[in-house]
Amino acid sequence: MSSGRERVLARVRRALADVPRDERPQDVRVERGYLRVHGDRTTARTVDLLAENLADYRALVHRVDAAELPQLLKRLLAAHGSRSVLVPPGLPPGWLAAADPVLALVPDREADTAYALDAVDSVVTGCAVAIAETGTIVLDGGPDQGRRRITLVPDHHLCVVRVPDQVVGSVPQALERLAPGRPQTWISGPSATSDIELNRVEGVHGPRTLEVILVDGRTEGQG
């Protein structure tokens, strides 16, 4: 194995014979003249843009105050016909308080097989950050999000975004907030394919229904 390593590295070094020996990587100029965020927006406008872009990629978007969240989740799960829902270990217990008596809550356990997850109807999670310009939610395996597979195998994903705290404008701003070491899933709309004559078809292997709930964390309400 190390012979392959030495061979490849030696070839790379020979191939770069034209690069001056005292040149360091940082001597090669990278012009970062691009924008940190596109356009000037108020916080409220950034949240609106997130909602618009999520909807544009066929996520179902809901906006509520924190106090209404449990009832909304209950309603959405019922409307989807769900009888069971996967729950990450650190999901705030209040969120599913209203749905609890009606639905089977399935904890996110390492021991469960993929087959077991396939039998669960829905999953409810929080998120790490949401990006307005691209309509993206990012999961990083935090306690309210769980293992990557629980948002993949069930056919219905409900994701709660706390606005405005978890919302950033742009991709560069999102990367600044995220820890590279954590496994991440960036989600922009439900899974889709355009492989058949370029017709967009939603829902191939990931959840076919993605619902994003923007929860206003400041319960006093604002304009």
């Binding site: 691209t134 597979r149 922009s188 492989d195 058949i196």
Partner: protein
């Protein structure tokens, strides 16, 4: 010879294959519809970002920095991946890579693997190598599934089954799904939603039982050891998170220095490839994570001609490619000839400069590829990492016609001028003249416009057969870049 994949050996040279393709009306109709649709959408997605030109320049710079110090970044990447619990392997050529992967799969005791679309594994013919050892590889990307079931070859980087229409796909599913696993439902129609559903059901049983996943990667971050896979369907997430063992085969040029560098490519790649603000799913992982995803992660770093390409100071820029396929969708030659005519996993303009460098120009098909272009420059204008494809094409044509020093399998060798190409030297000299006159460059004109006066009505050499059946597209008098500077760019 171990540096080449057997998959495409015996392919006819570009002109012969293109002639057949151009006569195939269905293929041409599918391709025209597809390339025009994506092309228009892409233009809209790009126009949303008023700093596009600067993102493009930054993408070029980041890749340039990486390539000029590739040894440094590869060693750093190896350290980061290892520190995060992964194992790094190095493969100088296709044979070595296939041996490593086959060995890793065998050690798991499994005889099947699920795969997410990866050009690197197609390039090395991994599926065939696994098959020879009794290991079945299931392609899980919808288009790859169509290609695999149809016993076909991909024809587009991003939409590999772009040459198949819905009726053909239904027929393939009906006829073949049963022998690979769950059969297509009775009465399957050609409705795209029904076809996608059939694929979902067919593949799900494979995902749920999968123990070994094989992937490529769009990016590898040297500083953190993070790998990134950009996809749409969710089959990537399935392959990356459900199996116990994950093996990623990635070309050494896919490394980027820092986490922050992703901010450039995660903006330019989705808009350039699928014309979306962001693709549905992007997965990022760093080594292994306790109780989440695969317990074992192996990264196979693949050379297979990349260092030979790196050794060519003009051709090196081809290694910046992020495989977005924007250049295919704007290419008038690709639109009419189709992906198969290029005789390689890398079709279109990027294939025309990458394949002859990765594989050398010993074969007829590879020697003819630099001619599979009208040098109109549209590919350069859309390329998100600003690869000057026409410049490299002219450079490679010169190499074919005049011979000279190249690097093959890490050794400097001198190649002789190709025999059938002597007649083209005059054209070559004219093109060289244009390149050697920096005054023309200062005027901000593209190569295509610069060589407009000497632009042949018919392509020279092997390209002639193709252009005989088609009038060559007119080269625009004003290049995109010039127009850009005159309009938007001038505002700043």
């Amino acid at each position: 010879m171990s540096g080449t994949s057997g998959t495409y050996l015996g392919m006819p040279a570009f002109p012969a294959a293109a002639r057949d393709a151009v006569r195939n009306e269905t293929l041409r109709g599918n391709l025209r519809h597809a390339t025009h649709t994506i092309r228009d959408k892409r233009a809209k997605a790009v126009a949303e970002l008023d700093d596009w030109a600067r993102l493009r320049a930054a993408g070029r710079d980041v890749k340039e920095r990486t390539l000029r110090h590739l040894d440094h970044y590869l060693v750093q990447l190896e350290e980061s991946v290892t520190a995060a619990g992964g194992t790094v392997h190095w493969a100088a050529d296709a044979g070595e890579a296939n041996r490593i992967v086959t060995g890793l799969v065998k050690r798991t005791g499994r005889s099947e693997v699920v795969k997410v679309k990866s050009m690197a594994t197609q390039e090395i013919g991994l599926n065939e190598a696994l098959e020879a050892e009794g290991i079945r590889a299931y392609e899980t990307d919808l288009a790859e599934l169509i290609v695999q079931l149809g016993d076909d070859r991909p024809s587009h980087i991003l939409v590999p089954a772009i040459h198949r229409n819905r009726g053909e796909i239904r027929d393939i599913f009906r006829a073949e799904m049963g022998s690979w696993g769950r059969a297509a439902p009775a009465g399957l129609s050609d409705d795209p939603a029904e076809l996608a559903e059939a694929a979902r059901v067919h593949l799900r049983e494979k995902f749920l039982r999968a123990e070994v996943g094989i992937s490529g990667a769009n990016f590898m971050v040297a500083e953190t050891g993070t790998l990134v896979v950009v996809e749409s369907e969710g089959n990537g997430r399935m392959c990356l998170t459900l199996p116990e063992t994950l093996i990623s085969v990635v070309g050494i040029e896919k490394v980027v220095p820092t986490w922050r560098d992703l901010e450039v490519f995660l903006q330019t790649l989705p808009r350039s490839s699928t014309a979306e603000r962001m693709n549905p799913y992007t997965s990022m992982w760093t080594g292994t994570t306790d109780s989440d995803g695969p317990r074992a992660f192996h990264l196979v770093l693949l050379d297979n001609g990349r260092t030979d390409t790196l050794a060519d100071e003009v051709g090196r820029q081809a290694l910046r490619c992020i495989r977005c396929s924007a250049c295919l969708n704007v290419c008038p030659v690709y639109e009419r000839a189709g992906g198969h005519a290029y005789g390689s996993v890398y079709p279109g303009p990027i294939g025309a400069i990458l394949s002859p460098q990765l594989r050398g120009i010993a074969s007829e098909v590879d020697a003819s590829l630099p001619y599979a272009s009208s040098l109109c420059g549209a590919c350069y204008d859309v390329c998100p990492v600003a690869i000057d494809i026409p410049e490299v094409l002219v450079h490679l044509r010169e190499r074919v016609v005049e011979g000279g020093e190249v690097t093959r399998n890490g050794e400097r060798v001198t190649i002789k001028p190709a025999k059938g190409h002597r007649g083209e030297r005059a054209v070559m000299r004219a093109a060289r003249w244009a390149l050697d006159h920096p005054g023309a460059l200062r005027a901000g004109q593209r190569l295509a416009s610069r060589t407009r006066r000497i632009h042949p009505k018919r392509l020279p050499g092997p390209g002639r057969a193709w252009s005989d059946t088609r009038a060559l597209p007119e080269v625009p008098a004003e290049s995109f870049r010039h127009w850009w500077q005159r309009t938007r760019g001038g505002a700043r």
